[in-house]
């Protein structure tokens, strides 16, 4: 596997190399991650990935092999190699919590440090946020549609094999309860679930043999896959084999609403009133919403979860907003590219509330002193949306724990309840709350 220091675009290193030669590498800088717009029609986005970023920042140091690669390919100079040998990020990162909502221009993550150290982190920070936020945002819509019925991530096979693990993690942030992915269970302590594949039924001489085998191995609490041949027959066989204590059945094809209805009637008639019904098969938030009145107990969601339900990436960018000049003072900077101009100065994101309900996102722009000293009385209750994840190189390790992941889900559920009710609408619309950018200087 590559080290985190190689999970980056080459130009980060060549820029650092040039900047080390001319001295700007050591200028104090503030970079910010934000998106210029939510995906079309989406009402909010969900932050995920901060815990993963912190691990990468902690481990971001080129190995001897990496340094040899950079040297042998003439990517950086000998002097830069020497500088990289001792690299360790010593700056500060503030970020929106995992599980927090974001909107266009929300300062989701802010990196403060020298130009060189901030630049090296650009690509990997964007990779993590752009993927993880896309999945968490989709997961949030899916779990909203599912209401109190639990959703399980079954998408690993439809995503890059490592992305699958990050997707499982982000799904939890967005409200999922479990995953089918073993690596995600192993790494993050996510509850792992599973039933059986059609191949398991097919390799046996009969469906009955397959069900008997699964129950022998996993007990009657297991979930049997009932749509390999004929669902009605399969359910009859399942209850014959397992008894009415059968844990669950899974249906993976056909008209899920009517099949679930028939299955529930049949199970109840057979006395298996406690047997749960899980449905799977290209579910997304719309399909799940359509199943709201069907007697379904849980959803397994695959493709549409791990591809962000139509938006497989987030358009997060990493922009220099403030930097030290030759006068030693901090100055706002911004590019003027048509349609992609940026605002200078560091930002501070707050959410304004009235009676506990979010009214809007406030993005303050200004000097460190101005944004810190801002008088919020005109906006009623406000909440600072960022936390300090790394303070002058000192990582808040509590943000990388398993507990932090499940706490992010709790935080998300709470934050979602604080949004206006139209945030939960699945249809295309405006952002759930307006964002106001206030320039203080």
């Amino acid at each position: 596997m590559p080290t985190p220091a190689m999970l980056t675009d080459m130009y980060e290193y060549t820029m650092v190399d040039a900047a080390l030669r001319d001295g700007t590498a050591h200028r104090a800088c503030v970079f910010e991650v934000f998106t210029r717009h939510l995906p079309s029609g989406r009402r909010y986005g969900v932050v995920a990935g901060l815990g993963r970023i912190l691990e990468y920042v902690r481990d971001f140091r080129p190995s001897a092999e990496d340094l040899a690669f950079l040297r042998d390919n003439g990517i950086v100079s000998r002097e830069t190699i020497a500088w990289l040998e001792n690299f360790r990020f010593s700056g500060t990162i503030r970020a929106y919590r995992e599980g927090e909502m974001f909107f266009a221009n929300s300062p989701v993550l802010q990196v403060e440090g020298t130009f060189a150290e901030c630049t090296l982190l650009e690509t990997v920070i964007l990779s993590v946020l752009n993927f993880d936020c896309a999945i968490a945002s989709a997961a949030s819509r899916i779990t909203s549609a599912a209401g109190s019925r639990p959703c399980a991530d079954m998408g690993g096979r439809r995503a890059h094999e490592e992305a699958a693990i990050a997707a499982s993690r982000s799904a939890i942030v967005g409200g999922f309860m479990s995953t089918a992915n073993l690596a995600a269970a192993q790494r993050y302590g996510i509850p792992c679930i599973g039933t059986a594949a059609h191949a398991f039924t097919l390799v046996h001489d009969s469906e009955r043999d397959a069900f008997e085998s699964q129950i022998h191995a996993l007990g009657v609490g297991t979930t049997l896959l009932t749509d390999t041949y004929n669902v009605e027959e399969a359910i009859r066989t399942a209850v014959e084999v397992a008894g009415p204590q059968l844990g669950g059945i899974r249906i993976d094809s056909g008209d899920l609403a009517s099949m679930a209805q028939k299955a529930r009637h049949q199970l109840d008639a057979l006395g298996a009133t406690g047997t749960k019904i899980t449905v799977t098969n290209d579910l997304d938030e719309y399909a799940i919403a359509a199943l709201a009145t069907a007697p379904v107990d849980s959803y397994g969601v695959g493709t549409r979860l791990v591809t962000g339900s139509g938006h497989p990436t987030t358009s997060m960018v990493y922009k220099l907003v403030e930097r030290e000049g030759s006068d030693g003072q901090m100055h706002p900077v911004s590019k003027k590219s048509f349609g992609k101009s940026t605002d200078g100065w560091r930002k501070r994101g707050l959410r304004a509330y009235e009676y506990g309900l979010a009214q809007g996102e406030l993005v303050l722009a200004g000097t460190a002193e101005a944004v810190a000293a801002w008088d919020d009385t005109a906006y009623g209750e406000t909440k600072d949306l960022s936390i300090t994840a790394i303070d002058h190189g000192d990582i808040d390790e509590s943000l990388t724990t398993r507990d932090a992941l499940f706490a992010a889900r709790d935080y998300h559920v709470q934050a979602l309840q604080e949004l206006p009710v139209n945030a939960l609408s699945l249809s295309d619309g405006e952002p759930a709350i307006p964002t106001e950018v206030i320039t203080l200087n």
Copy 2:
């Protein structure tokens, strides 16, 4: 990092556990990977990922830590742990070459072995193929649209950080020439390219300072980013600083066609007739096609490449098609799920040609003997589309080399030329050639 043996869904292990108890784990099986349909409107798909799969199969053995996890969480029995300790895939894998076209029902990859060993590989094989084929398929359309102009992958920041590396690799299969991603360059020997970010200009006191610094570090052959403030001024400064030997400029915003036109005129007027123009900014095959007459020398493609240009995954499935019965004979098997039924028997994929032009895809289904002995005379020239990648556990390591990756690109270019010309149309349409499934038994 997790070991390859954990890059899988839990149910693969619980199925193996149950099958080891009842004996079906040792039944000879044939599993096949295929898609039921191409993404809507797409005319062909491109196979990629085989080299990565072979490395995973080679390394697929649970570590001591993995075994402890499986045991401590009660996922498999003690007997299965003992069996897993010595796991090594001893079966056979045949697959379409990387760079080959595929269509609905093409038997892209075939795994032959015991039920247990084939089952354990399901998830990771699907993860790799579903992602890598999606990217290679998009890359092929993008490079077709670009014609003789080279395309560079700049999408790493818009994909999961490990998926980014696989995307760079798959882009090469689909005709790309280079990547911005260092890890991909390091791992696969892909030529690495880069210019500079807007932040590099902004951290300097002036654009001139930034250009001078970059040229000092990287030489006049470098590519300068010219749209931080005003493109016309930037180009003037760039040629003043670098001289007419300046390697290239990059434009990353605005109306790229008209900006490239103006930039070309200006560069030529300044004597920089050899300076190349690279454009970037959310390019995809459609945007590139629209730039065909603009004086652009190369394209940098990001988001739309790594998200499969609208189709971020492929709907590849892994299905049991043939297995040994209690009589010791091989039998075809298939599920009957509504809308998702499968065909039994192993398949053999061939392409039929006339005057060197592909006429159709033939998918033979039958016993090993029948498909091997099939008389193809009625179909004119035919080509077997699969190669043997693993023969009874023996991996063809030549398929995992760097040379194999670039050979796949050559193969792809050739295979694309053999398709009817409508294959190159970017508009939605029918598959470029029809597929005929012929059942021989």
